[in-house]
């Protein structure tokens, strides 16, 4: 087959699946948050479940409200796309695009499966994969800053500024926390990282990788603007944050990008620490069935991790801004450096298999 | 009648007294309630009314009274420090029928007095029905007010109450509820002494005493409704006002009655631009505390559904501005030949309106409609126009009033008079029939209600009633008194003086009346009898013209 065609199919597939998961992760978030708060959450737009009682049909619920994302999307599209008069129109439009585009682009370098019919399940297997991912992901902050600035209104502006400060700070910890892994693997190529884990144990299994894992998880919460680090959109202080002035589809893009980022972070976590598409007792290579199984394993890991993101959000309260900065610069940064040292020691001492 | 009878004439002999420790000097013969009022001490009372004979039967006004102690030699006994020794009377006295004497000491707030007031209130209430929710007096009821101030919080009366007739029809306009009557006899005294129509009285005894009309009589005179004002409770109610509206919703606007030339001072009670009742306002120079029933009920036209709220051109409704625009050139052309124009003014208009009307009518024939029939010896004047005096001052009325109507009619018939301007009158009832009106080339009517004349008019401009405008009236005795706007219908209608001002302006006269104050000042400067007056000087009570 034409390699360009194959690439196109892969791109469309990845983006499609990603957006699909995004939509349903939003629903999952709303349902889980409701359940944690002893509520039911959205339960009206689904396949209804009826029971007969006292000779009357009573709807007792609906099948997980599976229609909700469709309705939400429809609603977002049908809402008036209101552009306030005082904004800088060009950047106001650019903001949401700049947020959404990187969130999708990073998936180019993420291996979401082994091979299927001999085709590697990655869009672009570049040798500096992780650098590409971090570089593109950090572009998202421009969208947020632009959106906040172009809104020409103080709360979005403050939200944008906070966001950039936060992202820049945690970018550092994020980068440092994964260095030990590549020291052990010896390559920045993400397919290589996964392959290394199929040959040895998952990286999380080595005790010196636990500290980097914790730092990585916490930092990715901060990077994706998720609670407990969702300061850029702290409603109580900022009347909504950088997206206050946005409505309709533009708002939905910000909203979706947040979830896309969350899924990207989960995927990276799975690739880096949890063996990517690998699962013990599942053959590392084989026919179509094995290929598909690998994709499914990977998706399952991503979804499970995304659920953890949600679970954390509805458990942990938001930190203060000074705590956020203190944590990033005074705790995670030194700890990340220390963990690099420890990993180096482990390699030198020969504890690490490579 | 003196302007203010409470100001003592210097000749009156003054006596000194102390009320609740406050020194007061009053003319001899003043009773304790009035004396207390001068120094701000309030003595509660039901049966006493300053314009009525004293009967002293309610016992609400009990106070402690004392005076200088006198020794066996008849001389005042002195305290060791040289002041006069005071002895208090062993029992309380009624304030309404006790006159101030030299050196008198009055106490109205001692425990004894308070206990007496408390007990009197309890007696009043033992047989009183729990009618307040349906009683029209609620809100202005002396029994309610004193209960709060001087009464007990709960009743100790456990027996069956005495029941008396309710919903008794006393006459044309008054309804009586005997259970609510506290037997103060104010109504009886008013009808006997003031209205000179002795028709009410008490029958039976003790708790069963009942107010009623003497056999064969009815409370039906033209002053019967003053008993409703006098009644301190809800025993006597005005059938017209009965169950219409609660008094606490009503806005009070000072005004004067325009039903005859006496010009009784009144209060207009309205809510949300609807007039509900009129009551007399005290003015000893005009009507004391009273007014006649006819005047009191003469307010229905104010909120009548038929009121004109728009201008009309040849019977078609239009806006005021548009009508004025169409009218101006025609009126200006007509006024070029003053002899071809006739004016019918109104002796029911205010002085200011008549002043402007006279400016419009200068050089043309003008007259007003006289309304004279029987008056009485009390308030009602034979002249039912409220401002005949003003119409004469401003020469809007002919002498005698109404004598020019025949001439105007003849002028129209002969084709000499082609334009007629009418203010608030229906000339078809004064000899200028619809056939004559049809011959006119321009008929302009300023009125607030539709009449045969407005039907025939080429132009109708919507005016207002006395309850919607500011202005002054001159009564039969030459007293100038003010009215204030109580309601507003919210249509295109406007004060008649504004309409005349607009007409003057449109026909080329200088526009110099920005508001009623400027208009009055102009009038005071140009019309002799009003020289030196201003609306402010006339105030609430009015001013007698020189």
């Amino acid at each position: 087959m034409d390699p360009i065609l194959i690439h196109l199919i892969k791109i469309v597939g990845v983006v499609g699946v990603l957006l699909f998961i995004c939509a349903y992760i939003v629903l999952a978030e709303r349902r889980i948050c409701a359940f944690i708060q002893d509520r039911l959450g959205p339960n009206r737009v689904g396949i209804p479940i009826w029971i007969r009682k006292d000779g009357r049909a009573i709807q007792i619920g609906a099948c997980w409200a599976l229609g909700q994302p469709i309705i939400d999307a429809l609603k977002a599209i049908l809402k008036e796309d209101f552009v306030p008069g005082h904004v800088n129109k060009f950047y106001f439009w650019l903001g949401p695009m700049l947020v959404m585009a990187p969130a999708l682009m990073v998936w180019a370098a993420i291996p979401f499966g082994s091979t299927l019919c001999g085709v590697p399940m990655i869009v672009a297997d570049i040798n500096v994969g992780i650098l590409f991912v971090f570089a593109i992901a950090s572009l998202g902050v421009y969208g947020i800053v632009l959106g906040g600035w172009a809104s020409n209104s103080k709360y979005p502006f403050l939200g944008g500024v906070r966001s950039s400060a936060q992202l820049i700070s945690y970018e550092l910890c994020l980068g440092l926390s994964v260095i030990p892994l590549f020291m052990q693997v010896g390559s920045l190529r993400l397919t290589e990282v996964v392959r290394w884990q199929t040959e040895h144990l998952w990286l999380i299994c080595y005790p010196w990788n636990w500290l980097p894992a914790i730092i990585y998880v916490a930092s990715s919460f901060a990077e994706t603007n998720r609670a407990p680090f969702d300061l850029p959109e702290a409603e109580q202080e900022l009347a909504g944050g950088y997206n206050t002035e946005y409505s309709s589809m533009k708002f939905a893009m910000f909203f979706l990008a947040e979830y896309a980022n969350m899924i990207t972070a989960s995927a990276l976590l799975a690739v880096l620490f949890l063996g990517g598409w690998h699962l013990p007792f599942v053959p590392v290579s084989g026919g179509i069935a094995v290929g598909i199984a690998h994709i499914c394993i990977f998706l399952a890991k991503v979804c499970a991790l995304a659920l953890v993101f949600i679970w954390v959000r509805w458990t942990v309260p938001r930190v203060r801004y000074d705590q956020l900065m203190g944590l990033g610069w005074k705790v995670f940064l030194p700890l990340a450096l220390v963990s690099i040292l420890i990993a180096g020691l482990a390699i030198v001492a020969g504890w690490s298999p490579s | 009648m003196a302007d203010n009878p409470t100001t003592p004439t210097p000749a009156a002999e003054m006596v000194n007294a102390t009320i609740n420790g406050i020194k007061v000097q009053v003319p001899k013969g003043t009773n304790l309630i009035e004396a207390g009022q001068r120094v701000g001490v309030f003595v509660p009372h039901y049966c006493y009314h300053k314009k009525l004979a004293i009967s002293g039967n309610c016992r609400m006004c009990l106070v402690e009274v004392g005076g200088p102690m006198r020794g066996p030699d008849g001389k005042p006994v002195l305290n060791p420090d040289g002041t006069t020794k005071v002895t208090m009377a062993p029992r309380l006295s009624i304030g309404c029928n006790t006159q101030v004497t030299e050196g008198m000491v009055v106490v109205t707030n001692s425990p004894a007095v308070q206990q007496a007031q408390n007990s009197v209130m309890e007696f009043f209430l033992i047989n009183h029905p729990l009618d307040c929710p349906i009683c029209d007096q609620a809100g202005e009821c002396k029994l309610q007010e004193y209960s709060v101030e001087f009464g007990k919080d709960a009743s100790r009366f456990r027996e069956e109450k005495v029941h008396k007739p309710k919903q008794v029809d006393l006459g044309l306009r008054v309804m009586l509820d005997d259970e609510r009557c506290i037997l103060c006899s104010r109504c009886i005294r008013f009808m006997r002494d003031v209205a000179k129509d002795d028709c009410l009285g008490f029958t039976n005894r003790g708790s069963h005493t009942t107010l009623t009309c003497w056999p064969g009589k009815k409370l039906a005179g033209n002053y019967s409704l003053n008993t409703v004002d006098l009644c301190p409770v809800g025993a006597l109610t005005d059938k017209d006002f009965r169950f219409k509206m609660r008094v606490w919703f009503l806005k009070e606007t000072k005004s004067i009655c325009t039903s005859c030339a006496t010009g009784c001072n009144i209060v207009i009670w309205s809510r949300e631009n609807v007039v509900y009742r009129q009551t007399p306002r005290e003015n000893d120079a005009v009507n004391e505390c009273w007014m006649c029933d006819a005047g009191r009920h003469n307010y229905k036209h104010i909120n009548a559904a038929s009121r004109l709220k728009k201008a009309f051109v040849s019977g078609k409704e239009t806006s005021y501005a548009d009508a004025l625009k169409q009218l101006a050139p025609k009126l200006k052309a007509a006024l070029a030949d003053r002899t071809s124009v006739a004016f019918v003014g109104s002796a029911r208009a205010t002085n200011e309106e008549l002043y402007l009307f006279s400016m419009l009518a200068k050089g043309s024939v003008s007259d007003c409609v006289p309304r004279t029939w029987d008056g009485d010896s009390f308030l009602v004047n034979a002249d039912r126009n409220p401002n005949s005096a003003g119409a004469k001052i401003f020469n809007v009325a002919a002498a005698p009033m109404g004598s020019k109507f025949a001439a105007i009619a003849d002028g129209i018939k002969a084709g000499k008079i082609k334009t007629l301007v009418v203010h608030q009158e229906d000339v078809t009832r004064r000899g200028i029939g619809a056939d004559l009106l049809a011959k006119l080339s321009l008929l302009l009517v300023v009125d607030f209600r539709p009449t045969e004349t407005t039907k025939a008019a080429h132009f109708v401009l919507p005016g207002v009633t006395y309850a919607e405008k500011r202005g002054t009236f001159t009564n039969a005795k030459g007293r100038v008194q003010r009215v204030w706007p109580a309601v507003s219908l919210g249509g295109e209608e406007r004060s008649d003086w504004e309409i005349f001002r607009d007409l003057l302006r449109e026909t080329g006269q200088p526009d110099r009346f920005a508001d009623i104050v400027a208009l009055f000042a102009d009038m005071a400067a140009n019309v002799k009898p009003f020289a030196g007056l201003s609306l402010e000087k006339i105030g609430d009570g009015g001013v007698q013209l020189g």
Binding site: I32, A34, F35, I36, Q37, D38, R39, L40, N43, I58, Q59, I60, G61, I214, W311, V312, W314, T315, V316 | P129, L130, C132, P133, I134, A138, H163, K166, Q167, R242, F243, K244, M245, R246, W248, F249
Partner: protein, 166 residues
């Protein structure tokens, strides 16, 4: 009052244990019984004495207890109430009571359900009672007239029967 703030122990300063125990707690909530009421299908149980919307009541003889004293009209803070009183006609069964509302309107858009009308009523004629779902498709729908208010109110026995003793 002063609250002693003890310095955190190393274990507490790690935060992770606290976060994990918190997550266990929220996890357990996933499986608890839900409190949500599925509203239009399931209706809440209205306890007696519930203060819903203002309504007019009749006594056990079917007499409209309101005597149109207009105190509620006066006290109503948003001026939601409009009353037109009238005298009972001469042949009426309750002529004794003399006065009754001819029109009694409550503008449910204006009403703030404060209950002042109930408190002020000298005749125990107006109550905030059960009906809680006050909806309409137009302003006119939300003007509740006498008949509607009486229908919603039903009967409220009158222990005093003061008018019978007149």
């Amino acid at each position: 009052m002063r609250i002693e703030r003890k310095p955190l122990t190393i274990w507490e300063r790690l935060y992770l244990p606290a976060i994990i125990s918190g997550m266990m707690l929220t996890f357990s909530h996933l499986f608890r019984k839900k409190v949500t009421l599925r509203y239009p299908e399931q209706k809440p149980e209205i306890p007696p004495g519930y203060r819903g919307q203002p309504v007019l009541v009749k006594d056990e003889d079917g007499r409209v207890k309101c005597v149109a004293c207009q105190l509620c009209e006066f006290v109503c803070p948003p001026r939601a109430i409009r009353i037109k009183p009238m005298a009972y006609p001469d042949n009426a069964k309750y002529k004794k009571v003399e006065k009754t509302p001819d029109e009694f309107e409550i503008d449910m858009i204006r009403c703030i359900f404060c209950g002042y009308c109930e408190e002020v009523c000298p005749e125990q004629a107006i109550f905030l009672r059960g009906p809680y779902s006050v909806t309409g498709l137009s302003r006119k729908d939300m003007m509740f007239n006498k008949e509607k208010l009486l229908e919603l109110g039903g009967t409220m026995p009158d222990p005093i029967k003061k008018w019978q003793k007149k």
